[in-house]
Amino acid sequence: MTATSSGTFTPMPGAAPLPRQVLAQAGMEARLMLRNGEQLLLAVVIPAIVLVGGVKGADRIGLDFSHPPVDVITPGVLALAIMSTAFTSLAIATGFERRYGVIKRLGTSPLSRTGLLAGKVGALLLIEVLQVAVISGVGLALGWEPDVNAVGVVLAIVFGTAAFAALGLALAGSLRAEATLAAANLVYLLLLAGGAVVLPTSAYGDFGEFARWLPSGALGNAMRDALTDAVVGWRELAVLTGWAVAGAALTARTFKWE
């Protein structure tokens, strides 16, 4: 550098330490998601309604579980909430970030692609903590008496987030923003209805054998294993790992930054 002046704009370039960048990115993305009404509906309100409706309805139509309905449905709704955030919200947000040039803008900032990805995962985990708190609160109010394996819960959340985030990014990186919005919501509804996420695979009869291989069924079962029987659902975690690897490979091949 030959500049001798020390004006306002005299160059002094440098990247912030990576952890600070990731934290800033995670905080920003979480804030923007929570500021968005639809996202909040998807993250907290719909799962809470499903939980209350599910527990009341199960009593009426007499679904036969090995445990009280609230003990089975609350873990399922936690899984649903994870799915809505890691898949639907992430896909929609990322789709519009591509559309608005946010990813392009960040592409010339010091934030690396790894940093961006870490920031997104951080934002998801922040929101998931909030979701778990709210939904557990509603569950406990409805008389939920969980039998907790904390390691199992954390692993289910982490592996479920990885699987659904990888799939959500694959979707957002290849379709236009509007198409991503439509597809992400459609897939969410289909998995909510038939994906064995809220209700155990055993409630689906023969279809349950298929549903347990879906990421939704695997995440739902992993949460139920950890919160009703206090065990780690290793088989389910393996299924989620498979989906995460497949989604990540697809994302790496197809993701367009613009």
Binding site: T2, T8, F9, T10, P11, M12, P13, V102, T108, P110
Partner: protein, 311 residues
């Protein structure tokens, strides 16, 4: 010790399908200058800039910014450059100052964001969500985002498009202050006055090719060349430009501007003027005015490319 150029582009070729957008382009940007890449829409300015910014990989040729490969060495290079995009680049719901603060956090020694917002004229819209900012306000935020990390080189793509004249002048002063403080500014523009006022060096691009480089003065003067604008009372007979050119000699260029006016570019000395009047007499046309003038960049561009820069 030779100073590394801020940007060096060597034999760059960029294609979109069959269409060649940039055609063996070579140019250099020296450090601590304002350098303008001038050309009409679709000339390949943005494509060239985006290759420097690491958004595109050169199809042929090489691009270096501060001696670094913008794609392979982006981790090293990115903190040292600032980029102002032509539009967009922010979440629709993010507030202007929030976006600026966010970019600041990604850098080690960012500028004071309140001072910067004040300088670019964002003062009163700091809490406005991005989607509600006017086009000009979005431009100003874009400029602030490019500067906040205290870069060595800033790339600004059409920086004043959509700005009102007052803000435009403030922006020019800001870019001049950047140069004074030791920042290299690379800007694309299709405004002549912007390039003429700001740039130390101008590269004129057309159809993806470099057609001329130089300081504004070099380009305008081009040696002793000046212009004679000849306006007559009645339309010229057909073939008038060729006939005048034959009368004046091969050093001149004659362009027909409309039915009654011709632009002669060449050595506008007494002998040329005498020849022009004699030619008028021979052709039986009566000059209404005969104006001598310096070329401006607009004329230079017209000569080099055969078309107007701004439609």
């Amino acid at each position: 010790m030779p100073v590394t150029p801020a940007v060096s582009v060597d034999g760059l070729v960029m294609r979109y399908g069959d269409k060649v957008a940039v055609d063996r382009l070579s140019l250099t940007v020296e450090q601590h200058t304002i350098t303008a890449v001038l050309g009409p829409n679709g000339a390949g300015k943005t494509t060239t800039l985006e290759t420097c910014e690491g958004y595109r990989r050169p199809h042929e040729g090489t691009v270096r910014v501060l001696g670094l490969d913008p794609v392979r060495q982006r981790k090293e290079l990115n903190p040292r450059i600032g980029v102002m995009l032509q539009g967009g680049g922010a979440w629709s719901g993010v507030r202007a100052m929030e976006m600026l603060r966010h970019l600041a956090k990604l850098h080690a020694h960012p500028l004071d964001v309140d001072m910067l917002a004040e300088r670019v004229g964002l003062g009163d819209c700091g809490r406005t969500p991005y989607r509600r900012l006017s086009g000009g306000q979005q431009q100003r935020l874009g400029l602030a985002l490019a500067l906040v990390g205290r870069p060595e080189v800033v790339f600004v793509d059409e920086p004043t498009a959509g700005m009102d004249p007052q803000v435009r002048r403030t922006t020019w002063e800001l870019l001049e202050e950047l140069r004074a403080d030791g920042v290299t500014v690379v800007l694309t523009t299709h405004y002549m006055d912007e390039a003429e006022r700001l740039a130390d060096q101008i590269h004129i691009i057309d159809h993806g090719r470099l057609v001329a480089s130089g300081t504004p003065l070099e380009l305008i003067r081009g040696g002793t060349v000046t212009t004679i604008r000849l306006v007559v009372t009645r339309p010229f007979p057909p073939g008038a430009p060729d006939s005048l050119r034959a009368a004046l000699g091969t050093e001149t260029v004659v362009a027909q501007l409309d039915d009654v006016s011709l632009l002669v570019t060449g050595p506008a000395d007494a002998s040329t003027l005498a020849k022009v009047s004699r030619w008028c007499e021979e052709q039986g046309v009566l000059p209404e005015s005969l104006a001598l003038g310096q070329r401006n960049l607009e004329d230079v561009f017209l000569e080099l490319t055969g078309r107007e820069l701004t439609p």
